[in-house]
Amino acid sequence: MNDFAILLDRYRGYVCKIVSGLLPSDLVSDLAHEVFVEAYRSLPQYDTRKAFKNWLAGIALRHCRSYWRQHYRNREIPLSALGDEHHHWVEAVIAEDASALHENAESRHEARDILEHLLAALSPKDRMVLTLVHLDGYTVKEAAEMLGWSVINVKVRAYRSREKIRKQIAALLAEEKRA
């Protein structure tokens, strides 16, 4: 029991970091809670030849995927749904107006809104791969181990999902030009 408390203390930050990249922040602590409870239940099935960290990440990712399966509706939200403040943020990025970027909480908030808007159009699998590889910066091999998928599968999915996002960014910029 004390051993599990040590594991919990050691890996709670890691699990929260993975989950917070994939889910709305108000759900993170509850989902991390469920991840550790499931990890405890599944400990007898843990293969000690594999890294514990990746095994735990796999459980966390399964929970996140399950959440997005329930909430994903293949919704393509029109870019016009974004507000003026979001368009100002895009303008500031293009103009490299450093003072308008990352300097204040509002600016970061707008950036996250835009990112959430773009990610909403991706399937749960694409969303997870893109978040792990391109946003969080894990290597394809690390992401594959966490997800329990083949390296090729992750590589292809990461490439395709990035292309989808880039197309959406291009559409956003085209709309900026028209406005």
């Binding site: 599990f4 919990l8 203390d9 930050g13 990249g21 895009v90 950036a111 990112l115 946003l135």
Partner: protein, 113 residues
């Protein structure tokens, strides 16, 4: 599109930066305690669960049986031509205790029968 000054690349990099600088969700001692309590319960399944959980478990355990019983009862009532309303009224009036209680309520409320 490999040019880092391309607008798409600029926006993409800014979004990645925003994602990486997002506020981290911190878990406190209370969160750890709650997880350990759940784990403890998993470890000792015989130990009584918290009251709401126990009630819910009991409700769901007997739900199927209760539904079946209700269904059989309705079927029986329909088959035998039982008329529940007059029967209930008869039981109500013929039971002196219920009638006395009813009089007491009327007396307390100040109304008249």
């Amino acid at each position: 599109m490999t040019d880092k000054n391309h607008p798409v690349n600029k926006v993409e990099q800014a979004l990645i930066q925003a994602h990486r600088t997002r506020p981290q969700v911190e878990t406190d001692a209370d969160w750890t305690r709650r997880v350990m309590t759940r784990v403890q319960r998993e470890r000792h399944p015989g130990r009584p669960a918290a009251t709401p959980d126990l009630i819910l478990r009991l409700v769901w355990r007997f739900a199927a049986a209760a539904c079946t019983f209700a269904f059989v009862l309705v079927f029986f009532a329909l088959q035998t031509g039982l008329e529940p309303d007059p029967l209930a009224l008869h039981m109500f009036i013929s039971d002196p205790l219920i009638l006395q209680t009813l009089y007491l309520f009327v007396y307390v409320s100040g109304a008249t029968l």
